[in-house]
Assembly symmetry: C2
Homo-oligomer: 335 residues x 2
């Protein structure tokens, strides 16, 4: 397989770019005419760190790489625009395998209205995907950062937590959970949370429109990402562990693996839900925007306070120490 | 070393972003207000494929990663804007090593007016750098693609060829070249061509302003990149090997390594000069723009013809078969 043959086959599969992408993949650079402000983020996934080829299909790995990159645009409330993909290909991955990866990327691109506008492919010792995504908004003021949380704001989260961590336990066969009946659905749903995360793009735009003060996507874990938001905003955050929306099936999977479901929900990471701080009077509007059938819903889980740090209160009066996903630390050091 | 500690130390070192970068590194995404059109490109360098840590300083590796990404913007005639860097860090590279890499990236960013606006860092089995660069231009029409060469145009190249390939021979001690006197300067210059390539940003903008029809940067090698330009433009290219501007010292290094200097100049790659097709009446204007002291100069090397393919004619009447740098093929298969 050669670089240029592969790139040619990839380009054959790409749909025509939309009008604002004046020149798509294949030249020295893609040419785009942005409407107003751009939001740009980059995310990398490496075999053995973020996924394992033994437990995920190549199509899923590709899809996840773009989805988690887009999750950062969701947190900004941006419209997804273009994606640029670096593929690091190990010796044992052939051209068809690369195209399977690209099929997954293309699927998420189509689902989200993202244009694959460029990329690079190179030999690498382990399968590596680095995805740059560019989102758009009319003005910078239409985008929501991590820095706008104010004491007195409410804290809320979209969807459900802990599902991706429970899915990982199932995937790695570290849970002896034996589902039957409805639990079969839960099992499939938990695996999908781990293998095929969906960026909350609609929710992010709805939260921005509803007047969210600050938003962050939960990639590292609620505890860790909440600290990022608190630091950026110069505030403290208080959450009630009992109010966290746990993914259906999480309790059973955690129990069978001898793990605490709350800890998985707070430190497991990879749920790619949105944590949002917003003035109390805007909560109902935001809930209405996210609540309709098919929407992820929005759950109030705490409050923004003066000070610093993150406190997650347990029902017994104690607090939960939250770790998270650190891409440079081995999994064994995470908690 | 943790991911977040490292990112914090990186951000401490970054200068304040310019006004059009509304939000730099540290949030979910960088927020930029582009002026008109953007040109976006991504390039990855992997240890063992594009460089070897044994023969290049970390600072040089970082500098090269950004420089080669910016070279694509040079080929478009774009103003460099923002860069986003993914760092894949192997176990044996510590935090200080990562900061050395970043120092090299920051040096080239400062030299070229590029803002480091975001990135990601992750564990990886081999040192990996993936750099996305965004350039700017008032309108898409101000940018030069590979596709605008027309039969009758002249073909020219900036600077000198073969220097990076000769530098690689010296670096890998595959040449027994023993310089003295002026040849010492040549040796240093050839090594710099390999280790510290300079993107031809000023030349690219000058060529765009002078009315270049098509431009490509020479990353894979003149022969290979000329084919890309010919295919994109739907034309043929004819070059005269005798007119190629060879890097000083190339002949001596090639001879001592038992290699053909012309082949190194045509197939060696990594010179990051610009190949340009332009109407004959614009050549003198372009030469004047690139020729002043300190400029790379511009050498006429051939012509654009109807048809397809690339022919490099040798002085003896034969033609040179040109290979190039294929990022998925082992070095031994390249020629």
């Amino acid at each position: 397989m050669g670089e240029f043959e592969l790139l040619a086959r990839v380009r054959e599969r790409l749909p025509s770019p939309p009008p604002h992408v004046v020149l798509g993949s294949g030249d020295d650079a893609a040419v785009v005419v942005p409407g107003g402000a751009t939001a740009t983020s980059v995310d990398a996934l490496v075999d053995g760190v973020h996924f394992r080829r033994e437990t995920a299909a190549l199509e899923q790995i590709g899809a996840k790489a773009l989805a988690v990159a887009l999750s950062d645009l969701a947190a900004m409330g941006a419209d997804p625009g273009e994606a640029y993909v670096v593929l690091g290909v190990p010796e044992d991955l052939d051209e068809d395998g690369c195209l399977e990866l690209l099929d997954g990327i293309a699927r998420v691109a189509e689902q989200t209205g993202t244009t694959l506008a460029g990329g690079d492919v190179t030999r690498a010792p382990a399968l590596t995907l680095a995805v740059t995504v560019v989102g758009h908004a009319p003005t910078p003021g239409d985008l929501v950062t991590r820095a706008g949380a104010r004491p007195g704001d409410l804290l809320a989260v979209t969807g459900e937590l802990g599902g991706a961590a429970a899915g990982l336990l199932l995937l790695e066969a570290r849970s002896s959970f034996e589902p039957h009946g409805d639990a079969n659905l839960d099992r499939a749903s938990l695996l999908a949370r781990q293998l095929e995360p969906r960026p909350r793009l609609d929710a992010g735009r709805a939260l921005a429109a509803a007047g969210a003060g600050a938003t962050i996507d939960l990639s590292d874990g609620l505890g860790s990402d909440a600290r990022h938001l608190a630091t950026a905003s110069g505030v403290g955050l208080e959450m009630d562990a009992g109010s966290l929306p746990l993914a259906p099936g999480l309790a059973e999977v955690a129990a069978s693996a001898g793990q605490d479901p709350l800890r998985l929900a707070v430190s497991g990471g990879e749920d790619y839900e949105l944590l949002v701080a917003l003035p109390a009077e805007r909560l109902e509007g935001a809930k209405a925007a996210l609540g309709p059938p098919g929407g992820p819903g929005l759950t109030r889980i705490g409050a923004v306070v003066a000070g610093e740090g993150v406190e997650i209160r347990l029902p017994d009066g104690g607090t939960l120490e939250a770790g998270g996903f650190d891409q440079l630390r081995p999994a064994s050091e995470r908690r």
